[in-house]
C-alpha cells in the first residue's frame, strides 16, 4: 500500500500544508501564547493523530477530526502546529493506532 510513500513523507510539515483527507500526527505546537493554550486545551497535543476533513468553501478555515471532536481552525493558527503525515484518504490506516484496535476514522468515506 502507501506505507513506503507515507514513510518518505514523514518529515515535519505544518498542519496548514496538509491536504483534505490527509492523516497526520502532531509533533509540536509552536503557536503564540493564546492560540497554543487553546490548542492544548482542546487536546491537540504532541502525538495526537487527526484527519483533515475539509477546508471551508472560501479556502479558510480548515476542519480536522480527532478524539471524537470536529475542530475548525484558521490556517493561520494551523501554521503553528508541526505535524508528520501518517496516511492519506482511504488508505485504511487507523487514526488512533493503539493496541485495542480502535479505529476512529473521522468523516464519511
Amino acid at each position: 500500500m502507501n506505507c513506503r510513500k507515507a514513510r518518505q513523507e514523514s518529515g515535519s510539515m505544518k498542519m496548514s500544508e496538509l491536504q483534505v483527507g490527509d492523516k497526520a500526527e502532531v509533533t509540536a505546537v509552536k503557536a503564540g501564547q493564546a492560540v497554543r493554550r487553546r490548542i492544548l486545551d482542546m487536546g491537540l497535543i504532541t502525538g495526537t493523530r487527526f484527519k483533515v476533513l475539509r477546508v471551508a468553501p472560501l479556502g479558510d478555515p480548515m476542519e480536522i477530526f480527532f478524539k471524537g471532536m470536529y475542530l475548525s481552525l484558521r490556517k493561520n493558527e494551523a501554521e503553528g502546529i508541526s505535524v508528520r503525515k501518517t496516511g492519506e484518504a482511504g488508505d485504511g490506516i487507523a487514526m488512533s493506532g493503539d493496541k485495542q484496535g480502535r479505529c476512529c476514522c473521522g468523516g464519511a468515506r
Binding site: 493564546a34 471551508a56 475548525s72 480502535r102 476514522c105 468523516g107 464519511a108
Partner: protein, 711 residues
C-alpha cells in the same frame, strides 16, 4: 424537619449535555441572570431530595479551567470564590478522553466533586465499555452514569451529591502527579508560597502549578507579594530546565502529563470494540459544508432567518401598533387637559409602544437563532463565512448579527451574545448600526422618490445600503487595528455534532431575550423617548397658543362650508404645531446647530428633524412633515415629496447628503440603550457617538459637495 441546603455547580465541556441534565434535574425551578460583570448567562435552579434542597448553578461550558475565555474565567472564579459544596463534572461518556481534561483540573483544585457520566445510554450502541470502578479509583471520585435524554440515573446522581456533601465517600482522592522534574519545580515554588503570610490557607500546590502554566490571573495575584522575587527566579529555572531537558516549556509539559494520565486511564478503563461509523453529523456536513453548496446553503439560512424575523414579524408588529393606536384612541377622550393628553398619548403610549412593537421581531429572531445555535449550525455558519469576516478583523459569528441589523439594530446587538471574545463582540456591536435598519427606509423612500426618477431611485437606495456595509466593515477594521487591538483572537472552534434542539430550550431562550428586552432596555428607552418628547414640546409659546385659538375661533364663525372649514382648521393647527416645534428645545437646538450643518447642505428645519430623529429614525420623516407645515404627515407621503421638490433650499445634493447623514449618524435611543446594556458601560457608547457624528458629517460633506459639482 430541618431542610439542609446544598449548593452544587455543574461543570463540563460545551455540548456534553450539561444543560439538558440541568433541565432534567431542576424541572421548572429555574432562574436566569447574568454572572456579575459579564453578559454570560447564569442558570440557577433547585431540586428537593429527601430533607435536602439542592441548588444547582449551570456553569458555562468550558474545555479547561485556564483563563482563556470569559466563560472559563467565570467558571473558575465561581469554583474558587463562591465555593459550591459539591461540583458535578458532567462528562460525555462516548467522548470520555477529551472530556477528562477538565476533570484532571478539578482533581488539582480542592473541591469536592463527582463525575456524571452523561449520555451513558449511547455507549452500548457505539460499542464502548467503561470500567467504572477502575475509573473511579483513578479519578478519585464517585462516578454516576446518567442520561439526560432518557432521564435515567437522576435519582442516583442526587443521592451521590448528598453523600459527597455529607462526606460519606468511599473513594480515596487521587492526585495527578506530573513528571519528576515538574513535581520538583511545583514543590519548590509551593514551598516558597507557603512562607508568604498573605497566602495563608491558599492551596499553594495549585498556585504553583498555575504559575508554571503561565496563568495570567494567578501571576497577577502572586506578583503583589514580596515572595514573588524568589518565585520568579524559580519559575525561570523551571523554564530553563524544560527547554534543556525536553525542548519544551513547563506549560506544555504539564498539559502533556495531564493528557498522558488521561490516555493511561482510557487504556485501563475503556474498551472500544466497534470501529467508528460515519455519523449523521458526517453526512449532514458533507452537504452543508460542501465546497460548492456550503456558501449557498449559508446564504439561504441567513435569508430564512431574516424572513422569519421581519416578514413574519411585520404583521404582528402592525397588529401591536394598531393595538397601541386603539388604546390611545380609547384613552384620549378620558384625559381632560391637552397637555396631560399629550404626555400620555405622545409620550407614554408612543414611547412604550415604540419599544414594545419590536417584541415580535425579537422573539422570532431569537427562536431562529437559538435553533441555529442549539442544532449546531451556528458554528458551521461561522466556519463558512469566517474568511470574509476575518479580513475585516471580525469573527465568522459576527455575520448573522450584522445581517440582522438590516432589520433592526436592537435584536442584532442582542444577538452578538453568541460571540465569545469581548473585543470581537464590542467591534460587532459598534458596527451594527451602520447596517441600514428598517426605520431608515422611509427616509430614503421619501428623498430618493422625490429627487430621482423611479428607475434611478432604487439604485440610489441600494447605493446607500452598500455605503452602510462598507462603512461597517471599514470601521470594524479600524477598531480592531486601533482601540480594540488585542492579541489576534484565535479561531479554534469546535463544530459540535448536530442535535435536534428541544422545543423547550428554544422557546426558553426566546422568552429570556424578550424579558430582558422589555425589562432592562424598556426602562431606559422609555425614559429617553420621554426626554425627547419633552424637548420637542417644551417650552411652549403662549403667544402661538393664543393666536391659534383666535384664528380657530374666527374660522368657526366664518361663513364657509363644513369641508372648507375643516381644511382651514387643519391648516391652522398644523401651522401651530410647526411653530411650537420651532419654539421648543428641540427646535432651538436645530437652529443652533444650523451653522454646523450648513456646509453639508442642511438648514435649521432639517436640523430639527435630525434631533427628533434620535427618538426613532422614521421620526425624521414625520418631523419634516410637521415642519414643512403640511396638512398630512403620513410617512413617505407624496405631498411632502412634492413640497421638498419645489423647495428652493432643497436640491438633489441635499437629498443625497441627508440620506448619507441619516444612514450614519447617532442611532436611535433604543439602540443606544441596548448598546449600553450589552457593553456594560457608557464610555464606549459616548466615544462612538462622537465618532459617528464626525463620520456622518464628513461623508455627507463629500457627498454634498461632490453632488453639487456633478449634478
Amino acid at each position: 424537619m430541618q431542610v439542609k441546603e446544598i449548593s452544587v455547580a455543574l461543570a463540563g465541556n460545551p455540548n456534553c449535555g450539561k444543560s439538558s441534565l440541568f433541565n432534567v434535574l431542576t424541572g421548572s425551578h429555574q432562574r436566569v441572570g447574568n454572572f456579575s460583570g459579564v453578559t454570560i448567562e447564569k442558570h440557577e435552579g433547585y431540586a428537593d431530595y429527601g430533607s435536602y434542597r439542592i441548588r444547582f448553578v449551570d456553569l458555562p461550558g468550558t474545555y479547561s479551567l485556564t483563563p482563556y475565555s470569559p466563560e472559563e474565567i467565570v467558571t473558575r472564579n465561581f469554583l474558587l470564590e463562591d465555593k459550591p459544596d459539591v461540583v458535578v463534572n458532567v462528562v460525555e461518556a462516548p467522548n470520555l478522553e477529551r472530556n477528562l481534561l477538565l476533570t484532571t483540573q478539578l482533581m488539582e483544585m480542592h473541591v469536592d466533586f463527582l463525575v456524571a457520566l452523561n449520555m451513558f445510554d449511547e455507549l452500548e450502541e457505539k460499542g464502548i465499555t467503561v470500567d467504572g470502578k477502575q475509573l473511579q479509583k483513578l479519578l478519585g471520585c464517585h462516578i454516576v452514569p446518567t442520561s439526560a435524554k432518557r432521564k435515567t440515573g437522576i435519582d442516583a446522581l442526587l443521592a451521590h451529591i448528598v453523600r459527597v456533601y455529607e462526606k460519606d465517600i468511599e473513594i480515596q482522592k487521587n492526585k495527578l502527579s506530573f513528571r519528576p522534574e515538574t513535581e520538583e519545580a511545583v514543590a519548590a515554588i509551593a514551598g516558597m508560597l507557603a512562607w508568604e503570610k498573605s497566602l495563608e490557607g491558599a492551596d499553594t500546590r495549585w498556585l504553583a502549578i498555575k504559575l508554571l502554566e503561565n496563568d495570567r490571573e494567578v501571576y497577577h495575584q502572586v506578583q503583589q507579594y514580596p515572595v514573588w522575587v524568589k518565585v520568579e527566579l524559580a519559575l525561570q529555572d523551571a523554564i530553563r530546565d524544560a527547554a534543556r531537558l525536553f525542548d519544551s516549556d513547563p506549560e506544555i509539559l504539564i498539559t502533556e502529563d495531564r493528557h498522558a494520565f488521561i490516555r493511561g486511564a482510557m487504556q485501563e478503563c475503556v474498551r472500544i470494540t466497534e470501529s467508528r461509523r460515519s455519523t449523521v453529523t458526517d453526512y449532514i456536513d458533507m452537504v452543508v459544508l460542501n465546497r460548492v453548496l456550503g456558501l449557498p446553503i449559508f446564504l439561504f439560512v441567513v435569508w430564512a432567518i431574516f424572513q422569519l424575523t421581519f416578514t413574519l414579524g411585520s404583521p404582528l408588529m402592525d397588529l401591536l401598533e394598531a393595538l397601541f393606536a386603539a388604546f390611545a384612541g380609547v384613552v384620549e377622550p378620558l384625559l381632560p387637559s391637552p397637555m396631560f393628553r399629550s404626555i400620555v398619548i405622545d409620550g407614554l403610549i408612543a414611547g412604550v409602544g415604540g419599544v414594545l412593537v419590536f417584541l415580535p421581531n425579537i422573539v422570532l429572531l431569537f427562536i431562529g437563532l437559538s435553533f441555529l445555535e442549539a442544532s449546531g449550525y451556528m458554528a458551521r455558519a461561522a466556519f463558512v463565512i469566517d474568511k470574509v469576516m476575518h479580513r475585516f478583523g471580525l469573527h465568522g459569528k459576527s455575520f448573522i448579527p450584522m445581517i440582522t441589523g438590516f432589520g433592526c439594530s436592537i435584536p442584532a446587538i442582542m444577538a452578538t451574545r453568541t460571540l465569545k471574545s469581548p473585543t470581537d463582540r464590542l467591534a460587532t456591536i459598534l458596527v451594527i448600526p451602520f447596517m441600514s435598519c428598517g426605520a431608515k427606509l422611509p427616509v430614503y423612500v421619501l428623498l430618493a422618490g422625490a429627487f430621482f426618477p423611479p428607475e434611478v431611485a432604487a439604485n440610489v437606495m441600494f447605493a446607500i445600503y452598500l455605503l452602510g456595509v462598507a462603512v461597517a466593515l471599514l470601521t470594524a477594521r479600524l477598531l480592531k487595528s486601533t482601540v480594540l487591538r488585542s492579541e489576534s483572537e484565535p479561531f479554534v472552534m469546535e463544530l459540535p455534532p448536530y442535535r435536534w434542539p428541544t422545543l423547550h430550550s428554544v422557546l426558553f431562550q426566546a422568552k429570556l431575550k424578550a424579558m430582558m428586552y422589555v425589562k432592562k432596555a424598556g426602562t431606559l428607552i422609555l425614559a429617553a423617548v420621554i426626554v425627547i418628547w419633552a424637548a420637542s414640546n417644551f417650552p411652549r409659546s403662549a403667544d402661538i397658543d393664543r393666536r391659534t385659538a383666535e384664528e380657530t375661533g374666527r374660522i368657526a364663525k366664518s361663513l364657509m362650508t363644513a369641508a372648507e372649514r375643516d381644511a382651514a382648521l387643519r391648516a391652522v393647527s398644523f401651522r401651530a404645531q410647526s411653530e411650537q416645534l420651532q419654539y421648543s428645545l428641540a427646535g432651538r437646538v436645530g437652529k443652533v446647530i444650523e451653522p454646523v450643518i450648513r456646509p453639508i447642505g442642511f438648514d435649521w428645519r432639517i436640523g430639527i428633524a435630525l434631533v427628533t430623529g434620535l427618538a426613532a429614525k422614521e421620526v425624521v420623516v414625520s418631523t419634516m412633515g410637521t415642519i414643512y407645515a403640511l396638512a398630512d404627515t403620513e410617512e413617505s407621503s407624496a405631498e411632502l415629496a412634492g413640497i421638498l421638490k419645489n423647495d428652493p433650499s432643497f436640491s438633489r445634493a441635499t437629498a443625497l447628503s441627508l440620506m448619507v447623514f441619516v444612514l450614519l449618524y447617532i442611532p436611535c435611543v433604543a439602540s443606544m440603550g441596548v448598546m449600553k446594556k450589552e457593553i456594560g458601560q457608557w464610555k464606549p457608547v459616548l466615544f462612538y457617538s462622537i465618532y459617528v457624528l464626525f463620520l456622518a458629517w464628513t461623508l455627507s460633506f463629500i457627498t454634498y459637495r461632490g453632488a453639487l459639482l456633478m449634478l
